[in-house]
């Protein structure tokens, strides 16, 4: 197995919050270029897993590797610098600023060797920001204060900011939650369009099975901190356990 193919690898991750088991012996490898969705009911451990990958939480045991480098005990900032960006369930954007400025800050954080005396609103920065804005179809909102923007646009901006850094892996935490039903598909189309430009590895947590089916190739199902199914989208969604514990499509209760 050569380097760079196993982009992200989790080995024997365990995590408890008191009596609640949030992760139990989780093993997973993610290849470059995959589109993976994590599914599971609330409290199944998807977000905890995401938080552990991005360094916000530390596992009780086990290790996480990015490109064969152990990143388990690094902090979120370093992990971000190493190539894992994320978006948030509730968009974490800079509320009193404009969309344009939000992207500018994201851009600023991705640059090395800052000059303290060079205006951040330089020509080359502006060009790059405009490119991002058009890629996400955010142009019309460029100079609006983000606290006034509709939910879908905020989500999109949150993702756009995560992407400015050109990460290897992008983690999307419920990109369509809190977005109206009629907005969901346009939003996901926008995201997909924007992501298609680079050969990105994307992991996203999602509840909407239609979205999962339409936008991911591989699905990993969580239940009570454990992975109960992992594989091609169709196969996993048809799995009995998944149907019982996650999608709830077959109301069969007997075991």
């Amino acid at each position: 197995m050569s380097k760079n193919i196993n982009l992200l690898k989790a080995e024997g991750i365990n995590k408890c919050f008191g009596a609640v088991v949030a992760a139990k012996d989780i093993n997973m490898t993610i290849q470059k270029g995959e589109r993976v969705s994590l599914i599971g009911s609330n409290g199944a451990g998807k977000t905890t897993f995401m938080n552990m990958v991005t360094g916000y939480l530390k596992p009780d045991s086990g290790n996480i590797y990015l490109k064969n480098e152990n990143i388990t005990f690094l902090n979120p900032r370093t992990i971000t610098q190493k190539g894992i960006s994320r978006s948030f369930q509730i968009p974490q954007i800079f509320e009193p600023m404009s969309t344009w400025e939000n992207i500018l800050i994201a851009l600023g954080t991705s640059q090395k060797n800052h000059s303290y005396f060079k205006n951040a609103r330089s020509k080359e920065n502006a060009d790059y920001i405009n490119e991002i804005l058009s890629r996400f179809s955010l142009h019309e909102f460029a100079h609006r204060q983000v606290s006034e923007l509709p939910g879908g646009v905020r989500k999109l901006l949150d993702i756009a900011m995560a992407l400015v850094r050109k990460p290897d892996i992008l983690l999307l935490d419920e990109p369509t939650s809190g977005v109206g039903a009629e907005e969901k598909y346009p939003l996901m189309d926008n995201i997909a369009k924007a992501l298609s430009v680079e050969n990105l590895t994307v992991i996203f947590v999602e509840h909407d099975m239609d979205i999962v089916q339409n936008y991911s190739e591989r699905v990993i199902a969580f239940y009570q901190g454990e992975i109960i199914a992992d594989g091609k989208c169709d196969k996993v969604l048809k799995d009995e356990n998944v149907q019982e514990f996650v999608t709830g499509k077959t109301p069969k209760r007997a075991k």
Partner: protein, 299 residues
Amino acid sequence: MIDEILTIILDGAIYASWLFIVALGLTFVFGVLKILNIAHGGIYALGAYSTATLVPIFYSLGMPDQLVILTMLVSALAVAIVITPIMERGILRRFYGQDEVLIVLVTYAIYLVLEDVQKLIWGMNSLYVYEPRELLGALQFGSLYYVGYDLALIGLAIFCGLLLWLFLNKTKSGKIVLAVIHNPEISGCMGVNINKVYLAAFFVGAFLAALAGSFTAPLISVQVGISVAVVIESFAVVIIGGLGSIPGAVIGALIIGMARAACVHKLPEAEIFIMYFCMAGMLIFRPKGLFQGTQARKI
């Protein structure tokens, strides 16, 4: 030797009790309202002034001596009743939800105003109310005399602390206050009238400050400027103990009280420094104070 240790402990305990009563209100108000009230010292002074005004009236009415304690309580209560609506309803309420530091600044401004208000109401002359201190006589420990009133302050401190603790942990209203301390938004959603809780908590804090002033009045000459030292010393207590923590205030007051007493007896040169020394040590090793947990943010 044993004598000296006993003296140190007794002196330290008396001083710590005083510190504790002063700091208790401060830390409680911070716990509930998240306001670090610099004007606390001003309310303390008002309590002292109010006692110095009411107690002579009490004596001139020829009431039985023992009831003077009641008069002192009433004078503290009066200060709290007057000051709470003005400060909490009138001024501080406008700033809830804004930057905490902004509110500190507002209380600083109120502190300045209170300084001159004392002057305008009571003038510049010192007032004295030494009579209540003669009530409990003196007690002999070894070769030293202690005034019964001073020792009674220890009881008062324990009483105040215990009462507040029991209220918070054993009564329904107390539990509501704890809920508000923990999370005001959610408590509000659950139907708790936050504004009422804030008002009540501020009232309790103001009462404790006034009470401290009230019971200190017989020990000192009540005059302009007695609040400055109080502000700093009560801050030191809550910083050592942890902002918003009642057990913290107990420990903070005991640490400063005992350390200071030990210094005066054994190492007088260090006395002025000891409070800052305790504080600096705490800052370096436990910057949030002894009883302050860290909170993780939910994302």
